[in-house]
């Protein structure tokens, strides 16, 4: 099963409900993805959930990181589309 790390920004002033959106994404995955935290080293893709376009965690990433980063800054993309990208 595909392992994807889920990383949230700090959530200071979000423009949408991040948790609700992530629940929809997880539901759309239909069990095809194992969700892990970033301190679990066994993954190659990170889904970054940002509350706004500033996307703080992405800015703070080490440029030499080995992961494929999929970044979300709002809830406008259909959850099914996010899953499709993650599974590519």
């Amino acid at each position: 099963m595909k392992r994807v790390a889920l990383k949230y920004c700090g959530g200071c002033d979000c423009t949408y409900d991040r948790l609700e959106y992530v629940e929809k994404i997880k539901k759309a995955a239909e069990g095809r993805i194992e969700w892990v935290k970033m301190d679990n080293g066994r993954f190659d893709t990170v889904l970054m959930i940002h509350g706004c376009p500033v996307a703080c965690p992405e800015q703070n990433l080490d440029p030499g990181h080995p992961w494929r980063i999929i970044s979300v800054i709002d809830d406008r993309v259909a959850p099914e589309e996010i899953i499709k990208i993650l599974l590519e």
Partner: protein, 481 residues
């Protein structure tokens, strides 16, 4: 102390530490369950709860520069401009969750001000406060206890210096120096979160000069130390906390921080907990740094609180069918403008922060003072607009008990109702929330918390570069004299 991780750990730790508190003339047996304190405990507990949630950990936690461990940001020493900005973002976030004061920023700011200043005291005087302070910092980062930043002395006759007061205890002072430590007497006023904290860091309240050495004292003191008594300050609508009905407005989190007078009567403090003792030449620097770090906060915490006031005002308008009126929309826009203005001040003073000799980062002091000064005005204006939008009902709403009353409940329900589809109780809850956040103690805190407006204006005189501005004007006017 056992490391505090969860809300439950925090509440249990308050129960375990036996402190002396008086509330309305009565000693408090168990502070962890006292209705006067529970809302403030809930607010502070939120800082522990959010730190454990993946969706907030980026702001709520940091990596200790001393141990490399993940710690609460409230015990962190700012290592970069990014840390300064994250502090402000964190405060706005927690305000969104509590709509009240969560109290831990004062101790946080005391830690940072002391880190910078003890380093420089040692550099000049050859003392060893910095090393001692680092050990204390490791302890608080590990145990995650709650620290009060104890700056404000009662001050008695404001026209006189500490050593000139008729009663020498009106400024907290060292009454005896012993081989193993010092003995402290005096008091600290308006101590936010004191009744639900574990320790207090006492700091000098103002710049001092020769003759004031006994008053130049910094020390970390457990609040259960013999000789400490806390007297809780009565807030606006204090009794509504006891009722715990919708009339409280913000039932879970109360109003501002819950302040207390903390009295020290011959309290012993061992030397390892003393971080300044007699160095009057650094009192001004320490006070200025603490004030700047604390004034930096206000666009974050009050900005977040203003967001809730805007939201509650819009709901109040919606429930009475006025949300689409153009003048209401315009007032909500103005409130949003003011909220974002105060927030931008906090972000700006953080973005222009700089590195001190100790390695810790420090916000721009002029911009930080401007930020707090705007709070003394804009929160009042935001509140005024909230009152305007909500209407006079904010001041004349019947009791929650009237709504429940078998005889008259039907009248309250009938005549307090707004649009269809929204219950009278819902409307009353939102109006009470607005009332709680926009009047009385909540407003006074915006005025005087982190220093009264005049203290910020004094800083403008010092930091405003007036001579440089005159020079620039002369150059453009092509005048010389």
């Amino acid at each position: 102390m056992k490391r505090i991780i969860t809300k439950e750990d925090y509440v249990q730790s308050l129960k375990d530490q036996k402190v002396i508190i008086y509330y309305n003339g009565q000693p408090v047996k168990d502070r962890s369950t006292h209705p006067g304190f529970v809302p403030h405990i809930n607010s502070a507990a939120k800082t522990y709860e959010l730190a454990l949630m993946p969706e907030y950990e980026d702001l709520m936690t940091a990596k200790s520069h001393l141990t490399g461990k993940t710690i609460s940001r409230f015990t962190h020493i700012h290592q970069s401009v990014d840390d300064l900005i994250k502090k402000v973002q964190m405060l706005r976030l927690i305000s969104h969750e509590t709509a009240s004061c969560y109290q831990r920023c004062v101790g946080f700011d005391a830690l940072n001000a002391l880190y910078m200043t003890t380093y420089e005291i040692d550099e000049k005087h050859g003392t060893s406060y910095f090393k001692r302070f680092e050990e204390y910092l490791k302890k608080i980062q590990e145990e995650n206890f709650m620290l009060v930043g104890g700056m404000t002395d009662p001050k008695g006759d404001r026209s006189k210096r500490p050593s000139e007061q008729a009663d020498p205890d009106l400024f907290t002072r060292v009454v005896e120096k012993r081989e193993d430590g010092v003995v402290i007497s005096g008091a600290k006023a308006h101590q936010t979160g004191a009744v639900n904290s574990h320790e207090i860091m006492i700091l000098p309240t103002q710049a001092m000069g020769p003759g004031d050495e006994a008053y130049a004292i910094v020390a970390a003191i457990p609040l259960d130390a013999p000789g400490i008594t806390m007297i809780f300050g009565r807030q606006t609508n204090e009794e509504r906390k006891v009722e715990a009905s919708l009339d409280a407005g913000n039932v879970d989190f109360g109003m501002v921080g819950g302040e207390a007078l903390v009295v020290f009567e011959n309290v012993f403090v061992p030397w390892e907990r003393v971080f300044m003792c007699g160095e009057v030449d650094f009192c001004g620097t320490l006070v200025e740094r603490f004030a700047t770090l604390h004034r930096q906060n206000y666009g974050g915490c009050k900005g977040g609180i203003a967001d809730i006031i805007v939201g509650a005002s819009a709901l109040a308008a919606q429930y009475q069918g006025t949300l689409n009126a153009s003048h209401i929309k315009d007032k909500l826009v103005e409130m949003t403008h003011l909220a974002e203005t105060v927030y931008s001040g906090s972000v700006a003073c953080s973005a222009l922060g700089s590195k001190t000799k100790s390695g810790a980062y420090y916000p721009d002091p002029l911009l930080a003072n401007c930020t707090k000064h705007n709070i003394t005005r804009h929160i009042y204006e935001i509140s005024r607009l909230a009152h305007d939008v909500a209407g006079g009902i904010l001041a004349t709403l019947p009791f929650a008990q009237d709504l429940k009353n078998a005889q008259i409940g039907k009248y309250v329900d009938k005549y307090m109702k707004g649009i269809s589809g929204v219950s009278t109780e819902t409307r009353m809850k939102v109006l009470r929330l607005l009332e709680n956040m926009t009047g009385g103690t909540a407003l006074v805190e915006s005025m005087h918390g982190a220093g009264s407006p005049q203290s910020q204006r004094v800083m403008y005189q010092r930091l405003g570069k007036l001579q440089e501005k005159m020079r620039m004007a002369k150059k453009l006017a092509k005048v010389k004299e």
